[in-house]
C-alpha cells in the first residue's frame, strides 16, 4: 500500500475507523438482546473517538502523544475466531473485538514499517499504538470478566 502524502494516509486511517464504527453500529442493531446492543454501541463510540483523534491531527491539533510500546497480553492469540451473529454473548463480543483490534494494530504496524517517509512512519506507529492500547483494554476486560478463575 502506498500513500502520496500524509493527508492521504490519514484519510485512509479515518476510513478504516469509520468502517469499524459502522460495523459495530450495524452489529448493535442486529443484536437480539438489548444489553448486547448497548455493548456494541459502546464499541462504536470508541471507534468514533479514534476517528476524532485522527481528524484532530489533520486539523493541526495532534492529540497523539508519543508513548512507549504497549505491552501485549496475547490473551486472544490462541482463541478461536468468532463470527458475528445476532445471538452473540459478551464473551464472544470481546473475543471478536480483541481480534479486530489486533488486526488493526497489525495493519498500522505494517504500514509504518513500509513507509519511507519518516513523518508517515511515525504517524502509523502512533496509530498502531493506539490500537494496541485499545486491544489491551479489551484484553484486561476479558481477563477480569471471563478468566477470574483461570
Amino acid at each position: 500500500m502506498h500513500f502520496d502524502s500524509l493527508v492521504d494516509a490519514l484519510e485512509f486511517a479515518i476510513e478504516k475507523e469509520e468502517e469499524a464504527e459502522q460495523f459495530y453500529t450495524e452489529l448493535a442493531e442486529k443484536m437480539e438482546r438489548p444489553h448486547m446492543a448497548r455493548i456494541f454501541e459502546n464499541f462504536a463510540e470508541e471507534e468514533r473517538g479514534h476517528r476524532r483523534m485522527i481528524k484532530d491531527v489533520i486539523m493541526g491539533r495532534p492529540s497523539f502523544v508519543p508513548q512507549p510500546r504497549v505491552a501485549d497480553l496475547q490473551v486472544s492469540d490462541h482463541l478461536m475466531d468468532v463470527a458475528p451473529s445476532p445471538d452473540m454473548d459478551y464473551q464472544q463480543a470481546l473475543i471478536f473485538a480483541m481480534k479486530a483490534e489486533k488486526a488493526a494494530y497489525a495493519l498500522y504496524t505494517q504500514l509504518s514499517e513500509a513507509s519511507e517517509d519518516s513523518a508517515m512512519r511515525d504517524l502509523f506507529h502512533l496509530l498502531a499504538q493506539e490500537e494496541a492500547k485499545h486491544k489491551r483494554r479489551f484484553e484486561i476486560e476479558y481477563d477480569e470478566q471471563f478468566s477470574g478463575e483461570n
Binding site: 438482546r33 505491552a71 478461536m80 464473551q91 483461570n150
Partner: protein
C-alpha cells in the same frame, strides 16, 4: 491466709478439626472433615475474647450475632447457640461447611494477629450438627393464608430462603426447579466429600412439611415463561443461579473427554456417577485428568477425579498467590495428591482417531510488569510450548447465568453478562412483580450471599403483597406471622 488460685495460661491456639487421613479419603467420597467433638468445640469457643466492637458480625453477609452464639457454645448451651444462628441463617449446616469464612467473619477476627482466627464456621457447623443429632423437629405455626401466591424459580440457596421466609408469613409458595431435585449448586455442584447431600435433603424436606409446593423437572422459560406464571402468581422470585459454564474458546474443546465443570460434577453428585451400578449413570474412568482453573470448583473437580482413580492435576494460568480457591481446599487437594501446574495455559487439545482428547498443548507463563492497577498479569513465555498426555479435561473457569429467563422475559433489564439487574436492598427488577437474587444477579458467588439476597427479596415481596411498595423491609400484615428471622427456626432439625 487465703490460698492463691493458680491461673491457667490462656491457650490461644486454633483447634484443629479431625479429618480423614489423606491416604484414606482419596479413595472415598465420604465427608473429609468430621467436625469438632463437643469438648473441642467448647475449647475453641473459649478462645473468643469477646471484642467490644465485634467486627466479625459486620463482615457476616446475614449479620449473625456471632459473639452470642460463641458464648453459648462456651457455656455448653448448644440449644441457645443454634437458636441464635437461626435467627439469621436458615442453612447453618451448609454454611458452616462451604462458606468462605476466612474472607468474611473470620477475616476481621482480632485473633488473626495472635494465634489464628477463631473457627467461627466450624463452630456454626458444630451447632447445626449437634441439633440434627437431637432428632426432634419443632414445626412452627403457619398463619392463615393471605390469599397471595408466590412462585420461586430455582431451588438453590436463594430460592429456598425466599420460600422458607414467605411460607411462614402466610403466603402460598411454589418452587419451580429445572432439575429433578431441589438444592441447586448444593446438590449438583458441591461434592459429597465437602457437603453430604443428606444435609441438603433435611432442609428441603423441612420446607415441604411447612407446605411449600415443589415442581421439579420444570424449566421456566421453556416449560412455561415468567409472564405465563404471572397469570397465576402475585409475585415471582427468580433465583435460577449461574449454570452456564464458560469455555476458553480454544481448539479442541469439542472433543470427547473435554467436560465443563458443571457437567463433570453433575454426573458425579446429582447422578451419583461414582456409585455405579447402584445408580445407572456411570462416569467414564479416566487415567489422566487436567482441570483448568484455580477456584473452589476446580478443586472439587480435581479431588473428585482423584477419587475416581485418575492422576489429577490443576492447570492454572497465574501463580499460587493468586489462587482464588479457599486455602483449606487447596491444602486438602495437595495432601491428597493433586498436582498443581502454576503459570500454565492450555493452548489447544488434540484428539485421537475416535474424537477423544489424547493430548493438550500448554504454554508456560510469567507474571508481567505491574499495570496501572498494580496487578501483575500473566504473559506467555516465548518458545515454552509443551505437549502433555491427557484423556480428560475439565474446564472450571467460571459460569454465567443461563440466558433462558432473560431472553424469554421482555422488559427484564440485564447486565453485560446476561445477569438480571436487581436492586441490592430489595431484589426488585425492572419488571413489576418480579424479584431476583443470588447468582443470577451477582454471577457465581457464595451460598451465604445468595441467602442474604433471598432474605432481602422475601422482605420486599412480603411488603409488596401486603400493600406496600416493596421498600418497607417487611411490612407487618397484622397476621401475627413469624418474622423472617424466625421463619426458618428449626429448618435444620428435620431428622425424624
Amino acid at each position: 491466709m487465703a490460698e492463691k488460685k493458680e491461673k491457667k495460661p490462656l491457650d490461644l491456639n486454633r483447634r484443629q478439626m479431625p479429618k480423614q487421613p489423606p491416604e484414606v479419603r482419596k479413595y472415598n467420597f465420604n465427608e473429609v472433615a468430621f467436625g469438632y467433638p463437643e469438648d473441642v468445640a467448647v475449647e475453641e469457643a473459649k478462645r473468643c475474647i469477646m471484642c467490644k466492637k465485634a467486627r466479625c458480625v459486620q463482615n457476616c453477609p446475614v449479620e449473625i450475632d456471632i459473639p452470642a452464639f460463641i458464648q453459648a457454645v462456651a457455656d455448653r448451651n448448644f440449644a441457645e447457640g443454634i437458636r441464635i444462628i437461626k435467627q439469621k441463617n436458615c442453612l447453618p449446616a451448609i454454611c458452616g461447611r462451604v462458606c468462605p469464612q476466612e474472607d468474611q467473619c473470620e477475616k476481621t477476627c482480632t485473633l488473626v494477629k495472635k494465634e489464628g482466627q477463631l473457627a467461627i464456621g466450624r463452630l456454626e457447623r458444630f451447632l447445626a450438627d449437634w441439633e440434627a443429632r437431637q432428632g426432634h423437629v419443632e414445626m412452627p405455626d403457619i398463619p392463615e393464608w393471605t390469599g397471595k401466591n408466590v412462585a420461586v424459580v430455582g431451588g438453590g440457596p436463594a430460592g429456598l430462603t425466599v420460600a422458607g421466609d414467605l411460607i411462614l408469613r402466610g403466603h402460598r409458595v411454589t418452587i419451580f426447579e429445572a432439575l429433578h431435585r431441589l438444592g441447586g449448586v448444593l446438590v449438583y455442584g458441591i461434592p459429597e466429600f465437602r457437603l453430604p447431600k443428606e444435609i441438603v435433603n433435611r432442609e428441603v424436606e423441612y420446607l415441604k412439611r411447612l407446605g411449600v409446593e415443589v415442581h421439579t423437572d420444570f424449566v421456566v422459560g421453556k416449560t412455561r415463561t415468567i409472564d405465563s406464571l404471572l397469570e397465576e402468581y402475585d409475585a415471582i422470585f427468580v433465583g435460577s443461579g449461574a449454570g452456564l459454564p464458560w469455555f476458553m474458546n480454544i481448539p479442541g474443546e469439542n472433543l470427547n473427554g473435554v467436560y465443563s465443570a458443571n457437567e463433570y460434577l453433575t454426573r458425579l453428585n446429582l447422578m451419583k456417577g461414582y456409585l455405579f451400578p447402584t445408580y445407572h449413570t456411570p462416569i467414564k474412568a479416566h487415567r489422566r485428568v487436567a482441570v483448568i482453573g484455580g477456584g473452589n470448583v476446580a478443586m472439587d473437580c480435581a479431588r473428585s477425579a482423584l477419587r475416581l482413580g485418575a492422576e489429577s492435576r490443576i492447570i492454572y494460568r497465574r501463580s499460587r498467590e493468586e489462587l482464588p480457591a479457599r486455602f483449606e481446599e487447596v491444602e486438602n487437594a495437595e495432601e491428597e495428591g493433586v498436582i498443581f501446574d502454576f503459570l500454565t495455559l492450555p493452548l489447544r487439545y488434540i484428539g485421537d482417531e475416535n474424537g477423544w482428547v489424547k493430548e493438550m498443548v500448554i504454554q508456560k507463563m510469567e507474571l508481567g510488569e505491574p499495570d496501572d492497577s498494580g496487578r501483575r498479569r500473566p504473559v506467555p513465555i516465548e518458545g515454552s510450548e509443551e505437549t502433555w498426555p491427557v484423556d480428560a479435561v475439565v474446564c472450571a473457569i467460571g459460569n454465567s447465568p443461563n440466558p433462558l429467563i432473560g431472553t424469554t422475559t421482555p422488559g427484564l433489564k440485564l447486565g453485560k453478562k446476561g445477569n438480571i439487574e436487581a436492586d441490592e436492598e430489595t431484589g426488585m427488577t425492572s419488571r413489576e412483580k418480579i424479584w431476583a437474587g443470588g447468582d443470577i444477579v451477582t454471577g457465581a458467588a457464595t451460598v451465604i450471599l445468595a441467602m442474604g439476597a433471598g432474605r432481602k427479596a422475601a422482605n420486599s415481596i412480603h411488603d409488596y403483597l401486603m400493600g406496600g411498595n416493596g421498600h418497607g423491609n417487611g411490612a407487618d400484615d397484622g397476621s401475627g406471622a413469624n418474622t423472617a428471622s424466625d421463619a426458618n427456626a428449626g429448618a435444620d432439625q428435620n431428622t425424624t
